[in-house]
Symmetry: C2
Subunit: 150 residues, 2 copies
DNA sequence: GCTGAAAACACAGACCC
DNA sequence: GGGTCTGTGTTTTCAGC
């Protein structure tokens, strides 16, 4: 798809605040409101923009422990695990991985007990390695970081 | 903080589409627009709502490889690595971890060559284990999943 | 890509339950 | 805590260029 600097500017501004009005957005990128609307529509149609969401601070609502768990299937029951993890109440993301282990899962938990429960609940058909996160290193995720210097 | 079902409903709707107007939001949660505005303001002030952002599909803009790298420092140069990773052009998130390894880093890359470059660039003071992601398992991240059944 | 006018919306104040 | 009304200014949308 076509994709110019103005599109990147729009994505940057929406990344910082997706509730910005079209009007304010149009001022920041020096275009008229209808033009900005049209560009956003195209980015949505192309699937570059998947949606707009709110960032919720999980720590503020009691989920103070982040951990990543490496899950290895004992008997190749991949689909069983996938079905389970999609709706598991503490799961945030999950990747099917190459190398040691079969899945990498991120949990957001209230206590270590939550994590023990998780591990126990899949222990019959998996083995696990639990990696506790001490802290998160804040990363610059501005889309421009990925696209510049080419 | 206080936190009732209506607050959860508001967060759910904003999670699905943060560009909703206050009016539309108020219809969906059966409250008047001023009340919804006030609740959102409180959620923002309390830090539960950290911000509003756009979901960008990285695959659509050429970043088709996801990988997670376990980084171990040879000489404890944690700050050096943190400073590096914060602005590294392919990094998406990073955790300081307990257990084997010191950091877990997620990269979004265009090619395996990108990943080789990353590993090479920190090889002098770290050792790494690269975990390629075959695919992502789509997780239900509705905030209600975390809060229900208590 | 732009403008311009009509319709929809957000916000603030005053007031009440 | 919640709701309404009303006024003001802003924003979106759509037609036409």
């Amino acid at each position: 798809m076509k994709f110019d600097e103005v599109d990147v500017l729009i994505l940057e501004e929406l990344q910082k605040d997706s509730r910005l009005s079209i009007r304010e957005l149009s001022k920041r990128v020096n275009l008229s409101p209808p033009s900005v609307t049209e560009r956003i529509r195209k980015l949505e149609d192309n699937g570059v923009i998947e949606g707009y969401t709110v960032k919720i601070n999980k720590k503020k609502i009691g989920f103070s422990i982040d951990c990543i768990i490496r899950v290895t299937m004992k008997n190749g029951q991949y689909e069983r695990f996938k079905t389970f993890i999609r709706e598991y109440k503490l799961s945030e993301w999950c990747y099917r991985t190459a190398g040691e282990g079969c899945f990498l899962v991120k949990l957001s938990a209230k206590s270590l007990n939550d994590i023990e429960e998780f591990v126990n609940s899949i222990a019959s058909y998996t083995t696990t390695e639990t990696i506790l996160a001490f802290s998160e290193v804040e990363i610059n995720n501005n889309i421009n970081k990925f696209l510049k210097d080419k």
